[in-house]
C-alpha cells in the first residue's frame, strides 16, 4: 500500500463525513483566522528589529532577545490548534501495509501542516529584512533565516510529543510555566539568557548542524513513539481504571432531571475527553489574571468584561457546544428511553447553569482586584446563565461531531477539547454581551448599568419556557440527522 492509497482513503473519509455544509462555513472561518495568524506571525518576525529600534535597543540585540517569544508563540498556538496526524489505523493493521509506511505517512501528513508554512513565511520575512533592510551578506542572512526556520519547524514534532506523551508533557509544561512566571514577575529575566542562544546561531552559522540535529532527534522520537504505539495493545488490553463511587443522591432533589445530572457528572469525571474540558474550564477561570494584572488592561472595563465572560462562561462554552455530541456514542439509547426530549435538554441546560454558578463562586478570589471587578464578573455570570446557556444549546444543535469519549485509547486519538470551531462558535457568546455592556455603560451610570445587566440576565431565566420551546423544536427537527451523524 502506498502513500497515495492512504491519502485517497483519507480524502474519502473527509468527503463522506456528515455535515458538509456547516464544515464549509467553518472552513471559511478557519481560513480567515489562519490568514490573520500567518500575517501576524510573518509581520512579527520582520518587525522585531524595528520594534527593538523604537525601544532604543540595538535592532539585532532586540531580535535575539525576543526571538524566543516567536518560538514560544508558535509552540503554544500549535499546541492548542494543530491537529494531530490521526489516521484510520485499526483496519490497516492486519492488511499488507508495513507499519513503517503508516508511520511515515502520518509524519509526512503532519509536515504538511499549515503551521509549517507559517514558519517558512517567518523565515522568509527574516531573510528579506536581514538582506534588504540591514544589508547583511546574502549567505549569512540566508543561513541564519534557515537555522531559525528549522528551529521553529522542530516545533511540529515537539508539539506531537507534547500532545501524546503525558510523561513528557507534564514536566515540560511545569518547567515552562515556572520560567514564564519568573520572567513575568521580573524575578529573572529569561530573555536575557535566551538571547545568547539566538545570537550564537547568528554568529556561528555552523550551528545550523546542531539545530538540524535537534530537529532530526525530535523526528526520530516521534517516529519511535508512533511505531511503538501502533498496535491495538493499548486499546485491547483492559486497563482497569480505578473506579470511584460518589454519593450523588443529593442531586435527587432535581426530580426528573436527577438521573441525567448524575449521568452527566459521571460523564464529566470518567472520560479523558471530558476531563480535559474540566481542566480547560479551570484555566478559563484564571483567564482574568492576564487582564487584571497587566497595566494596559487594568483600568479598561472593556477588557474586564471580556475577562468576565471567559471566567464565568468557560465551562458553559466548552461543554455546551458539544451538547448533544457528548452522548453521541449512546444517542440511540437516549432517544428510545422514557425521556421526553425536553427533559433531556433541560438537564443539559441545568448542568451548564450549575457549572456557571460554580465558576462565579470560585471566581470570588477576584475580589482581590476590587469589589467592582467582582461585581462585573457576577453580573456577566448572570447574563451567561440567562442567555448564553441557551445560545450554547442552540449552537450545539448544529455541531454534530461524533465524540470518542475514550480517545485516549490509542496514540492516534485526537484529544483536543479546544479548536477553531470552538472559537468561531464562541463569537456570538462574547460579542453580544460586550455590545450590551458598551451600550449600557454609555447610557447609564455604572451601578445602574450593572443592575440592568443582571436584570437582563434574570429575564433570560424567566423566559425559559418559550426559549425551550424554540430549542426543543430545533433539536427535534434535527433528530434524524443527528442520529445519522453519530453512526
Amino acid at each position: 500500500m502506498t502513500f497515495k492509497q492512504l491519502a485517497n482513503l483519507e480524502w474519502k473519509g473527509m468527503k463522506r463525513k456528515g455535515g458538509m455544509a456547516q464544515s464549509i462555513i467553518m472552513a471559511i472561518g478557519k481560513g480567515y483566522f489562519g490568514l490573520c495568524y500567518l500575517i501576524i506571525m510573518t509581520a512579527m518576525s520582520a518587525g522585531l528589529f524595528k520594534l527593538a529600534e523604537e525601544e532604543g535597543m540595538d535592532p539585532f540585540q532586540g531580535f535575539f532577545k525576543y526571538a524566543v517569544y516567536l518560538w514560544l508563540g508558535d509552540l503554544v498556538i500549535r499546541y492548542f490548534f494543530q491537529k494531530m496526524p490521526t489516521t484510520l489505523v485499526k483496519p490497516l493493521l492486519i492488511q499488507n501495509v508495513r507499519k513503517k509506511t503508516i508511520v511515515n505517512y502520518c509524519l509526512t501528513k503532519s509536515s504538511l501542516s499549515f503551521f509549517n508554512f507559517v514558519n517558512l513565511f517567518m523565515g522568509g520575512a527574516l531573510f528579506l529584512v536581514l538582506a534588504l533592510d540591514y544589508k547583511v551578506g546574502f549567505g549569512t542572512s540566508f543561513l541564519f533565516a534557515l537555522t531559525f526556520t528549522l528551529f521553529l519547524l522542530a516545533n511540529n514534532f515537539l508539539v506531537q510529543l507534547l500532545n501524546h506523551v503525558t510523561k513528557f508533557a507534564l514536566p515540560f509544561l511545569v518547567v515552562f510555566a515556572a520560567v514564564l512566571a519568573l520572567d513575568f514577575f521580573k524575578y529573572v529575566e529569561v530573555t536575557a539568557y535566551t538571547k545568547y542562544f539566538f545570537e550564537a546561531l547568528y554568529n556561528y552559522p555552523f550551528l545550523i548542524v546542531a539545530v538540524a540535529a535537534y530537529l532530526i532527534a525530535l523526528l526520530v522520537a516521534c517516529y519511535r513513539f508512533y511505531f511503538k504505539n501502533l498496535s491495538l495493545d493499548s486499546a485491547v488490553v483492559v486497563k482497569k481504571e480505578t473506579y470511584k463511587y460518589y454519593d450523588l443522591n443529593f442531586l435527587n432533589r432535581f426530580g426528573t432531571l436527577a438521573p441525567f445530572l448524575k449521568l452527566d457528572l459521571k460523564l464529566l469525571t470518567r472520560n479523558k475527553r471530558t476531563r480535559m474540558v474540566l481542566m480547560m474550564s479551570a484555566m478559563f477561570l484564571l483567564y482574568g489574571l492576564i487582564f487584571f494584572t497587566v497595566d494596559m488592561y487594568k483600568s479598561n472595563t472593556f477588557f474586564t468584561i471580556v475577562a468576565a465572560i471567559m471566567i464565568t462562561g468557560g465551562f458553559m462554552m466548552l461543554f455546551g457546544q458539544y451538547v448533544p455530541s457528548w452522548d453521541s456514542s449512546y444517542y440511540p439509547l437516549m432517544m428510545t428511553q422514557n425521556i421526553p426530549y425536553r427533559t433531556y435538554l433541560e438537564s443539559k441546560w441545568l448542568v451548564m447553569v450549575l457549572g456557571t454558578l460554580v465558576s462565579i463562586i470560585l471566581a470570588s478570589f477576584y475580589l482581590f482586584f476590587g469589589l467592582q471587578t467582582y461585581l462585573i464578573i457576577v453580573a456577566v455570570g448572570f447574563y451567561n446563565i440567562g442567555w448564553n446557556c441557551y445560545l450554547s444549546l442552540i449552537t450545539g444543535a448544529f455541531v454534530r461531531s461524533k465524540i470518542d469519549l475514550s480517545s485516549n485509547k490509542n496514540a492516534f486519538g485526537d484529544t483536543k477539547a479546544f479548536n477553531v470551531q470552538t472559537l468561531l462558535l464562541s463569537i456570538p457568546t462574547i460579542a453580544i454581551p460586550m455590545l450590551l455592556y458598551f451600550v449600557l455603560t454609555k447610557l447609564l451610570p455604572f451601578n445602574t448599568a450593572m443592575i440592568v445587566f443582571v436584570a437582563i440576565g434574570l429575564a433570560g431565566i424567566l423566559l425559559k419556557k418559550p426559549m425551550f420551546n424554540l430549542i426543543e423544536n430545533l433539536y427535534k427537527s434535527q433528530k434524524y440527522k443527528t442520529i445519522k451523524a453519530y453512526k
Binding site: A258, K262, K266, S329, Y330, P332, L333, M335, T336, Y480
Partner: protein, 233 residues
C-alpha cells in the same frame, strides 16, 4: 398492539423497506428472520423512531411513533452497543434505566438477582466500566437492561449473535418465559431460524424489504419450517 400501515423507507431511490400492512397483537412473541440487508434493522429503527419513514407510519399501542413520544414509556430496545453507556458500571447502567422507568434501586436489585445465572458471575459486583467488558458480556448487559421495569414492548436485534452457547440457551429460556406470560410483546430478529423457532409464536421473513412469509410456529414442526424458509434463509 403494533400496527404497520403502508410503510416505506427509501434511501436515494432504493426501497429498503416496503410493508403494506402488519399487525402484531399484544403479548405476541414475534420472530423476524431474513438475510443480511433484508430490512430487519431498518424496521426496528423505524419502530423506535430512529429514522424517518419515507411513507406510511407505525402505531405502537395507538401511538404513531414519529408523531408522538409516548411510546417511549412502555417500549425498550437493544439494537447494538450504541444502547450502552460505556463509562458506567453495569449496576449504574441498570439503576439509570431503572430511574427512567420509575424503578427504585431495591426493585432493580431484586430484578437483577433473578438473572444471576445469566450473568454467570461476570457482570455484577465487578466494579468494571461497561466499556471494559468483552463484547459478549456487554451484550448481556444490554439485553437484561431492556427487561427492567416490565416494558410492554421489547425489541431485540440479533440477541443471540456473539453469545456463547451456554448463554444462548439461557437467553432462550428467559425470552420463552417472557413470551409465555403473554403480557409483553417481544420482537426478536435473528439470522438463525433455530433460535427464533424456539422463542417465537410467529415468524415473519423479510426479503429485500418485503414480507415473504408469515407463519404461526405452532402449526408446523421445525423441519417443515426449515423447508419453508430453505429458499431464502
Amino acid at each position: 398492539m403494533i400496527q404497520v400501515e403502508n410503510l416505506k423507507k427509501i434511501y436515494d431511490g432504493n426501497t429498503v423497506l416496503d410493508i403494506q400492512g402488519l399487525e402484531i397483537p399484544i403479548g405476541e412473541s414475534f420472530g423476524l428472520v431474513g438475510n443480511n440487508g433484508a430490512g430487519k434493522t431498518t424496521f426496528f429503527s423505524l419502530l423506535l423512531d430512529l429514522i424517518e419513514p419515507t411513507q406510511g407510519f407505525i402505531k405502537n399501542n395507538n401511538v404513531i411513533v414519529n408523531k408522538n413520544e409516548d411510546w417511549k414509556t412502555f417500549t425498550t430496545a437493544f439494537l447494538d452497543d450504541s444502547f450502552l453507556i460505556g463509562y458506567l458500571t453495569c449496576e449504574e447502567y441498570f439503576y439509570f434505566l431503572g430511574e427512567l422507568r420509575n424503578q427504585a434501586k431495591q426493585q432493580v436489585d431484586a430484578f437483577l438477582l433473578t438473572y444471576a445465572d445469566f450473568f454467570n458471575n461476570e457482570i455484577l459486583g465487578k466494579n468494571k466500566f461497561i466499556r471494559d467488558l468483552s463484547k459478549g458480556n456487554q451484550k448481556k448487559v444490554g439485553i437484561i437492561g431492556t427487561l427492567i421495569g416490565n416494558p410492554k414492548v421489547v425489541i431485540l436485534d440479533e440477541p443471540f449473535a456473539n453469545l456463547d452457547p451456554t448463554t444462548q440457551i439461557r437467553l432462550k429460556k428467559i425470552l420463552r418465559n417472557i413470551a409465555d406470560t403473554k403480557q409483553t410483546t417481544l420482537l426478536v430478529s435473528s439470522h438463525d431460524l433455530n433460535h427464533t423457532f424456539e422463542i417465537s409464536d410467529r415468524i415473519v421473513c423479510f426479503e429485500r424489504g418485503r414480507i415473504i412469509k408469515d407463519i404461526d410456529t405452532k402449526q408446523y414442526s421445525f423441519e417443515e419450517l426449515t423447508s419453508f424458509f430453505d429458499v431464502v434463509v
